[in-house]
């Protein structure tokens, strides 16, 4: 059906909210259609963007499965729904009476590369929360466990595992950068981290570039929503452990979760949907948060934190639990 030398891309949705597509439409410089043009991508079908659906789509899927249409990039958004009891009836693809997961298995086998867009498609995500009655799983992971719909050893035609562009939702730039790498034939296995996420955004911690950095340094902590202080001690913030560049690559122009005044919930990680405690509270043992930075000795962290607390300027101590600066730096008498 397509004879061009463009990379063909098919985007499907299953057990998710559609939010990763909505986020992708926020892409700026390049915007989505600019990206397709510059990366030489031909969109075979996207549920929100394409002209036709119905039989035309089913014919397209059939033609890909039969090898008559080349599929270079398959993107899935949303979890794979296996339930109830492995039947896949929680999502039969409309018009086909066939479980979506069966379509996905066949299409993945025909695709050059497979992208799991968002934490649902990558790991199961929010849809797998609670008792996971939907039997939701990721494409190649079931939570932290390798092997989802596709086994751990599965490789696409281009010899890559599923590329997990995880996040809830994804930042549009994580998808557009990944597609640019793919278009430039530069996405190799060493560009993926231990959960097969593109390192282009997971080589960072959310903590990097956090606007509350000074409060973190002095352990001047927020106690309630809208406070300005560091949210690690009390508000459940996982920014020092979470892998993403959210505070380096702004969201919607200038935002991030931290800038929005709420905790990082580590949404790029498998299992984020069940932290084992209330999302906005930091679990503590003997007054010390249990989730400390992973690559420094705990005793050192505790010692540094007590020192920092003792040295906290009044400016920060007071502002940490207020909605706005009590007084700005360099004025009003910081005490040592």
């Amino acid at each position: 059906m397509t004879g061009s030398d463009k990379l063909t891309l098919l985007w499907l949705q299953s057990g998710g909210c559609g939010g990763c597509s909505m986020s992708l439409l926020n892409a700026e410089n390049p915007a989505l259609y600019e990206l397709f043009e510059q990366a030489g991508i031909e969109l075979l079908w996207h549920p929100s963007l394409s002209e036709s659906g119905g039989r035309a789509l089913i014919d397209l899927l059939q033609s890909i499965v039969e090898g008559d249409t080349r599929l270079d990039i398959l993107c899935l958004e949303g979890s794979v729904m296996k339930g109830p009891n492995g039947s896949g009836k929680f999502h039969l693809l409309s018009g086909t009476d066939t479980p979506m997961f069966e379509w996905l298995e066949k299409l993945a086998g025909a695709a050059g590369l497979v992208l799991a867009v968002g934490s649902c498609a990558a790991f199961g995500g929010i849809t797998a929360a609670g008792d996971n009655i939907g039997e939701a799983t990721g494409l190649q992971y079931d939570g932290e466990r390798p092997g989802g719909l596709l086994p751990e050893t599965w490789r696409s035609k281009k010899q890559l595992p599923v590329v997990n562009v995880a996040g809830c939702p994804v930042h549009p730039g994580w998808v557009t950068d990944s597609l640019l790498l793919i278009a430039g034939r530069q996405l190799q296995a060493d560009q993926l981290d231990e959960y097969q996420r593109p390192r282009l955004y997971t080589d960072h911690l959310v903590h990097h570039g956090c606007p509350r950095n000074e409060y973190y340094e002095f352990k001047a902590s927020a106690e309630k929503p809208s406070d300005q202080g560091c949210m690690m001690e009390n508000m459940g913030c996982l920014g020092t452990q979470a892998r993403a560049d959210c505070n380096i690559r702004p969201w919607n122009g200038s935002g991030s979760c931290l800038k929005g005044g709420y905790a990082c919930i580590n949404c790029t990680a498998p299992g984020f949907e069940e932290p084992g405690h209330a999302f906005s509270e930091t679990p503590k043992v003997a007054g010390i948060p249990v989730g400390l930075p992973t690559d420094m000795p705990k005793a050192w962290f505790v010692a540094l934190a007590s020192l920092a607390k003792a040295a906290t300027p009044e400016r920060l101590r007071k502002s940490a639990t207020a909605e706005r600066l009590i007084y700005p730096p360099g004025k009003g008498g910081d005490k040592s």
Binding site: G18, L93, C168, N252, C257
Partner: protein
């Protein structure tokens, strides 16, 4: 040709989520329709046993296109449980965030989901086709490349107000977690101004105030003759050519939970309206009269209609239903919700005249959304100006260990409700009725169809069902969000 038979239409694209519609066709018309929401995830089960405030993390993730309204419904339910109300700044910032999402959705619907149907080959013989197809064709039409940047720029409001969109955690029971500085307030005002400019130059070709004061169909037609080059004018001309006002009438019962809370009350009032001999009859809304029925749903439980505080959501694929969706009813009747319903309930003269003449239709539903774009942006400018950087954005209160609360909000697509119950500090029941649950509901125990099922009856179908564009227009005129419908 008078072939009778049942046809299946799906997947239906340019809606949010997966949708299947079964049609019975006779004498080139749809005689009966059954609407199926094919995806079930189980949020109501996920929420059981969680800490109440965790609803603020889970529920926005029901839907990536109505995420803010889900957050606000959850926050409002928690606020009722806690017995608090947002601060003034908090309410204004909440309104601004909700308005941003609602209007961005109206814009996406018009340009990305609805208008591309007029570029389909089935209309190639129409006099207007070449010109309008070049403008509105999916992906490659000239409008897409203008609209996506304008939409992204407008959603930058959420970067300031809510950290990000979708899936923010800034919307709290007592307000928002993001106090704005004076300079940020000014920047916000400038961003709203940019969106106004886009709407005035591209969508309307006129001042918003000249559009939102149109008071009758006659005035709209007059306006149309003077604004043929604008995208709105182009839609109105196509609508005339295709007689879209005669397409997609449902039961003409409208409901709104009330939109955009202000100190003096709602910006768009709460209530319901029925049409009696062409006259809109307003009644107060009694939330206690809302029930959900599972007679046609793949759900187990009591077959009698239940108020959402008593409702349960237990999937059972072996039940003899045809959708995962429940059938919500107000006083036992199906109702229509959305921008048009909101404006009819609020008594906007143009909306009232539209439904008085032809009821809710493909035409009037689309106009309802465009009208809201023109109505709400000026309000956003006022709200932004009223933010006071010296006053608090968030009020705080303890979470009680038991109790209940309802959060009712108007999302872009209509009335969204969350009903929350807490026992021993944990969520014991959480039920959600989304706008498209109302509009795309299946039949209830009394065989009463939902709004879309009614609206499709009588739709012309000549030849191949896949090419029956009238059916496609009717479905998309509701701006369905299937991931909200069943969650």
């Amino acid at each position: 040709m008078s072939e009778t038979g049942r046809k299946i239409l799906g997947p239906i694209n340019r809606v949010e989520g997966d949708l299947e519609v079964r049609l019975e066709v006779g004498q080139q018309k749809v005689t009966r329709a059954w609407v199926n929401s094919p995806l079930f995830r189980g949020f109501e089960k996920i929420l059981q046993g969680k800490a109440p405030a965790d609803a603020l993390v889970y529920t926005p993730r029901i839907c990536g296109i109505c995420s803010v309204s889900q957050s606000i419904a959850a926050a409002a339910a928690l606020a009722q449980l806690q017995g608090i109300a947002p601060t003034e700044n908090g309410q204004l910032a909440t309104n601004l965030t909700l308005a941003c999402e609602n209007l961005a959705d109206h814009l996406s619907h018009f340009y990305l989901f609805f208008m591309p149907d007029f570029a389909r080959a089935g209309y190639a013989d129409q006099a207007w086709y070449q010109r309008e197809a070049a403008r509105f064709r999916a992906q490659t039409g000239a409008a897409s490349n203008q609209v996506l940047p304008a939409r992204a720029a407008f959603l930058q409001l959420t970067g300031l107000l809510a950290g990000k969109w979708p899936h923010s955690l800034s919307l709290q029971p007592g307000g928002t977690s993001r106090p704005l500085s004076r300079s940020e307030q000014l920047r916000l005002q400038a961003m709203i101004g940019n969106f106004r400019r886009f709407l005035e130059q591209t969508l309307f070709g006129d001042r918003l105030e000249n559009v939102n004061t149109l008071a009758s169909v006659k005035q709209l037609q007059q306006w149309q003759s003077q604004h043929r080059q604008s995208d709105c004018g182009r839609f109105l001309a196509i609508a005339d050519a295709l007689q879209l006002h005669q397409l997609g009438r449902a039961a003409d019962r409208f409901m709104s939970y009330g939109a955009y809370a202000l100190p003096q009350g709602w910006l768009f009032r709460r209530g319901c309206v029925t049409l009696e001999e062409g006259h809109a009859v307003y009644a107060k809304l009694d939330e206690r009269r809302i029930t959900e029925d599972i007679a046609s749903s793949w759900l187990a439980g009591e077959r009698c209609p239940l108020h959402p505080y008593r409702g349960r959501t237990e999937p059972d694929a072996e039940q003899s239903g045809y959708s995962w969706c429940k059938a919500p009813r107000l006083d036992g009747r199906s109702v229509e919700v959305g921008a048009l319903a909101r404006q009819v309930v609020n008594g906007h003269p143009l909306a009232l005249d539209l439904v008085a003449q032809n009821g809710a239709s493909v035409y009037s539903r689309v106009i309802g959304r465009l009208l809201e774009l023109a109505l709400v942006v000026p309000e956003m400018e006022h709200w932004c100006a009223e933010l006071d950087p010296q006053q608090p954005y968030c009020r705080h209160a303890l979470m009680p260990a038991g109790g209940r609360g309802a959060g009712m909000v108007e999302a872009a697509r209509g009335s969204l409700g969350h009903w929350l119950q807490v026992e021993q500090g944990r969520i014991s029941n959480y039920q959600i009725i989304a706008p498209t649950t109302w509009n795309f509901s299946p039949r209830d125990g009394g065989d009463q169809p939902g709004a879309l099922e009614q609206a499709l009856e009588g739709a012309p179908v000549a030849g191949d069902i896949e090419e029956a564009l009238a059916v496609q227009h009717i479905i998309r005129s509701f701006d369905p969000c299937m991931v909200c419908t069943v969650h």
